[in-house]
Amino acid sequence: MSRVECKYESEILDAVASGRWPDRLDAELRKHASSCSICSEVAMVSAIYRDECALAMDQVRVPSAGLVWWKSELRARREAVRVASRPIKLVTGIAGTCSIAVLALAILTLSKQLDMAAISAFVVAQPIVLWLVLAVILALTPVALYFVYSDE
């Protein structure tokens, strides 16, 4: 396998960093660099990246440390609240599912026991009862939703 590094690499890097490359290089290093492909590549790439870094540094406009800290702290707190409320949400979900299941079971049981034909006949005869039930549901729904979502 061919070699991947040269012992003069660090000297070449120093020369580029200090601005001695290529004009003010000492003779020995210059002679070596002209014959060593690794060192000539290191010099070229290093010089390119030094200029790139200088340009990037000119463009830097970072927020203050206080702002970054504050945003991080705020986000960490929000994250902590989210993690802490996860079990509560889980329990609420299970309770809701259980309630729906019990309600469905109750309706099924009652529908078997009640005379649906008689109930239908009563509702048709007394439509005011149906309207009253609908009105109560419409009035209570926003109140129920308010209590459910008021914490959020």
Binding site: V4, C53, M57, D58, P63, G66, W70, S72, E73
Partner: protein, 196 residues
């Protein structure tokens, strides 16, 4: 150093918080401030150069420091801490690139305060165009290694820590990355004159 000021309303909100000790972050505010002053500019420069988008670099900078602060990692020294931050930044860039690869934006030419003459500006502009084109053909890991080695001046060991590689692998990675870049930019005949 150019910094954005905190607005008055932000300061008002911030003031009561500074007195609290927050155990969800791994540093206190004072230590963080000092560390941030030393690292924010090079990290932003890296993020900007790798993404080519200053707004994305801003977002990734905030994200990098957030993840750094939340990480439960003990650091042996400042270098290790800095390498860890760069590692987070590199992962963020690469994750972002996988989600939405974007072409590199060419930096503004003739930035005020940039010490280049008109002649060298033309050469630099051409070279930057060549570099941007060449970088499109290089892997994220090669780009990371080149930036860390030649822009940041990191040692092989530091690059190995940052990229999660062995030192031997870093040497080989750098060798191949250099060779590929030089070839893509027209070969080693293009000798760049260093700044004096």
């Amino acid at each position: 150093m150019i910094m954005r000021d905190i607005t008055l309303s932000e300061l008002v909100v911030l003031r009561p918080r500074t007195e609290d000790s927050d155990d969800t972050l791994q540093m206190d505010q004072e230590s963080f401030g000092a560390f941030y002053e030393r690292t924010a500019r090079p990290v932003w420069a890296y993020l900007w150069r790798r993404t080519g988008d200053r707004h994305l670099a801003d977002d990734l900078l905030q994200e990098a420091y957030y993840r750094f602060l939340r990480a439960r990692v003990s650091h042996e020294n400042e270098t290790h801490r800095r390498n860890y931050l760069f590692r987070i930044a590199a992962n963020l860039v690469n994750d972002n690139h996988r989600r939405q690869p974007a072409p590199l934006e060419l930096p503004d030419e003739g930035t005020p305060g940039h010490p280049v003459t008109e002649v060298s500006m033309g050469l630099q502009s051409q070279r930057r165009t060549d570099l941007n084109r060449a970088l499109l053909h290089m892997s994220p890991r090669q780009k990371d290694a080149l930036w860390l080695a030649y822009a940041e001046g990191s040692s092989h060991q530091e690059i190995a820590d940052t990229l999660g590689l062995k030192v031997g692998s870093v040497k080989l990675l750098l060798f191949r990355a250099r060779r590929k870049l030089v070839k893509l930019m027209g070969g080693p005949m293009v000798v760049v004159k260093g700044k004096s």
